[in-house]
Symmetry: C2
Subunit: 332 residues, 2 copies
DNA sequence: AACTTCAATGTAATCGATTACAATCCTAAC
DNA sequence: GTTAGGATTGTAATCGATTACATTGAAGTT
C-alpha cells in the first residue's frame, strides 16, 4: 500500500519548491506558464491528490457544510436535503448530514459536533421554535430552512404556508363549506402555527367560528393523523371538510379512512404537501404544495453567500410561494 | 470573536506540557490523577474543544464515514441511511452523505472526494452491478449495502430478496394462480435480477412457463411502474396475479390502477417493501418486507469492524431475511 | 553602469494536535 | 547515602498544506 504523494513529493520531482506547487494548485497567477505545465504534469504523473484535511487545518475552510434534520426517514425533509446537496455539491461542497432525532438537546449537540469537525456553515431544519441553543453555532453561518425559531437572529428560507392554508381554506369556503375541521401539528413549530393561523383567519374573514371539537392538534406524524381523523369522524355529525396540516398526518388519516371503509358522504380533504399518491388518498380534494427541493436549494445558496462573507440583509427571511392543486376526489 | 482555545492554551494555563494535555484528552493512563483533574478543570474553564481537523491530520483517522446513495428523495434508501447514521453516530462517527445521482461516473467521483476528505470508510448503495471503479476506494474499507456488484471482492449487507420473491410467488401459486405477471427492475441491479430469478424459479418448480408478454422490465422508478402496469392491464386478457419488484414501481402501478378505475376483477398484486399505505394500494395482496433500517445498521457495524482492522471473513456477505405479509385486498 | 521594478520562485513558519524519546522525580532496596 | 527502576512529565518533530517574507534575475530607466 504505497503512501499518497504530497506537495513535497511533487515539488521534489518537479524540481520546484512546495510554495510553487501550492500556487499552481490554487491557480495563483504569479506562476510562469511553463512552470504551471511542469507541475501539472508531475501531479498527473504521481497521481497526486491534495490532502483536504491538511488544507482545512491551514486555511480553516473545509468546503463542508453541516445539515441537521429532525429525522431521515422523512420524504419531506429529504426532498429539502436533495436540493441542499445538489446546490452545495455543484459548488464543490460536501454535506455532513446529522439527525437531531427530534430533540433539542441532540440538536445542540450536533451543532457542536459539526463545529468541531470544522464545517464552514450549517443548515438546520429546527426541531422546535425555540432557538436559545442555536447561539452555539456562532461564529459559523447558520441558515434555517422550512421552519424558523422565535429568535429572529437567523437567516431562514421558508414556504409561505400561512397563505397556502388561507387560500386552500378559501377554496373550500367558496364551494360552500361552512364547517371545516382542522388537524394541526405541534403548535411549537412555526409551520404548524402558521397553518393554524391561516385556517383561522380564513374562517374569521367570513365570520365563521369553528367548533372547538373540530380543531385538533397532533405532532405531524402518521400516527397522530390516524388518531385525530378518527376523533373527527367518530363525531356523530362529522365535518364535511377537513384540513390536514402535513403529509404524514394526511397519510395517517388516509389509513384511518381506508381501514374504516364507511362511506363518508360528501367528505372533502384539504391537505399539505404534494407527495406521490397524495392526490389519490380518499376524499382528497385540495392539496397545498411546497417547493421542497427549491427551499433546500435556496437555503444552500444563502449559506454559501454567508460563508463567502456577504452579510447583506442579515438576518434574511426568504418566503417561497406554495401552490394549490384542486384534485378530483380520489379513492373512495 | 475570540479564538478557540488550543491544547497549547490549556497547557500554559494549567502549567503543564501539551503532551500531558493530549494524554488527558486521550485517556492515557500514565497521567497522575491530580494532573488529570487539573487539566480537566482547565479545559472546562477555557471552554476548550479539540480541533478534530488537526487531530485527523496527525492521526489520519477522522471518525467520519462516507455514505453514497443513488438518490436522496427515496424512502427506501433513506431508511437504510437512518440505520447507518444511528449506528455510526452512537459510536462517535459522523456521516458525509453523497448522492451518486444514479451515475457510475458520479459514484466514482464521490468515492474519490470522500477519500480526499479523509473519511475512514465508505458505505455504498451501488448504482449498478458493475464494480470496476470501486477499486478507487482502496485502501479504505468499503461496504456495500442493499445491492452488490459482480466483483466479489467487497463486503456486502443484503436482503435475501430471492427467497422473499420465491415465497411470495409460492403463496400465490398455492392460492391457485397459474399465470403471474412480473414487473421487474433493471436487470443490471443485483436485486432486480434476484427477484426475477426467484419468480422464475418458483414458477419452474411447478412446471409453469410464463408468457413472454407477462414479463416486463423497467427501472425501479414510479413512472416505469405506471407504464408497465398499463402495458399488462391493457392486454385483453390480463394476468390475475402481478408481482411488482419494488415500492416505487408499485406506487406507479397503483397510480395507474387508481386513474383507470375499471374494475380488475380478481386482480392480486404481490409487491416489495412494506411502506406506509403500500398495503392499501389497490388489489394489494402480498407484501415482501425488507429490514431496511437493520440493513443499514449491520452495514455500519461491519464497516466499523473493518475500520478497526478486523479482516475476518473478508469479503463477507450478510444476508438478512425478508418477511412476508399477506394483506386483505386493499383499496379497490 | 548603476539602480529601480516587477515577475517568479524559494525559505521557513504555521495551523493544532499526537507521540517517540528524553528527562526528571520518587520510592524502595542495599 | 546511593542508586535502580518505575512513574510522570516535558521536548520537539511531525502530519501536509498555505503564505508572509525573502531572494533572485532580468528588463527598463536615466
Amino acid at each position: 500500500m504505497k503512501k499518497n504523494a504530497t506537495v513535497k513529493d511533487v515539488a521534489r520531482t518537479a524540481g520546484v519548491s512546495t510554495a510553487t506547487v501550492s500556487r499552481v494548485l490554487n491557480g495563483d497567477s504569479r506562476v510562469k506558464g511553463e512552470t504551471v505545465d511542469l507541475v501539472n504534469r508531475t501531479i498527473e504523473e504521481l497521481g497526486y491528490r491534495m490532502n483536504r484535511v491538511a488544507q482545512s487545518l491551514k486555511t480553516s475552510r473545509s468546503l463542508t457544510a453541516g445539515v441537521i434534520a429532525p429525522e431521515f426517514s422523512n420524504e419531506f425533509f429529504m426532498n429539502i436535503v436533495t436540493g441542499i446537496e445538489a446546490e452545495l455539491n455543484s459548488k464543490g461542497y460536501s454535506v455532513i448530514l446529522c439527525s437531531s432525532r427530534e430533540s433539542t438537546a441532540e440538536e445542540a449537540r450536533q451543532i457542536e459536533l459539526l463545529k468541531d469537525r470544522g464545517v464552514d456553515g450549517i443548515i438546520l431544519i429546527p426541531e422546535s421554535d425555540r432557538g436559545d441553543h442555536l447561539g452555539t453555532a456562532d461564529p459559523l453561518p447558520l441558515v434555517l430552512v422550512d421552519r424558523t425559531v422565535n429568535d429572529p437572529a437567523y437567516d431562514a428560507v421558508l414556504a409561505d404556508t400561512y397563505r397556502g392554508t388561507y387560500e386552500a381554506v378559501n377554496l373550500a369556503l367558496d364551494e360552500g363549506a361552512e364547517r371545516i375541521g382542522f388537524i394541526g401539528g405541534d403548535i411549537h413549530l412555526s409551520t404548524a402555527r402558521e397553518r393554524y393561523e391561516g385556517y383561522k383567519d380564513a374562517l374569521t374573514a367570513r365570520n365563521l367560528v369553528p367548533r372547538e371539537k373540530d380543531i385538533l392538534f397532533g405532532d405531524y406524524h402518521e400516527e397522530s393523523g390516524y388518531r385525530l381523523m378518527r376523533e373527527l369522524m367518530e363525531q356523530s355529525d362529522f365535518p364535511r371538510y377537513v384540513f390536514i396540516s402535513n403529509y404524514f398526518m394526511h397519510l395517517g388519516a388516509a389509513r384511518y379512512l381506508l381501514e374504516n371503509s364507511a362511506l363518508y358522504e360528501g367528505l372533502h380533504i384539504l391537505s399539505f404537501d404534494d407527495m406521490p399518491l397524495a392526490s389519490f388518498f380518499p376524499y382528497s380534494s385540495v392539496i397545498v404544495a411546497q417547493p421542497m427541493v427549491e427551499m433546500g436549494r435556496r437555503a444552500a445558496q444563502l449559506l454559501l453567500r454567508r460563508i463567502g462573507g456577504d452579510r447583506k440583509d442579515f438576518p434574511l427571511t426568504v418566503k417561497l410561494q406554495t401552490s394549490i392543486r384542486a384534485v378530483s376526489p380520489g379513492i373512495t
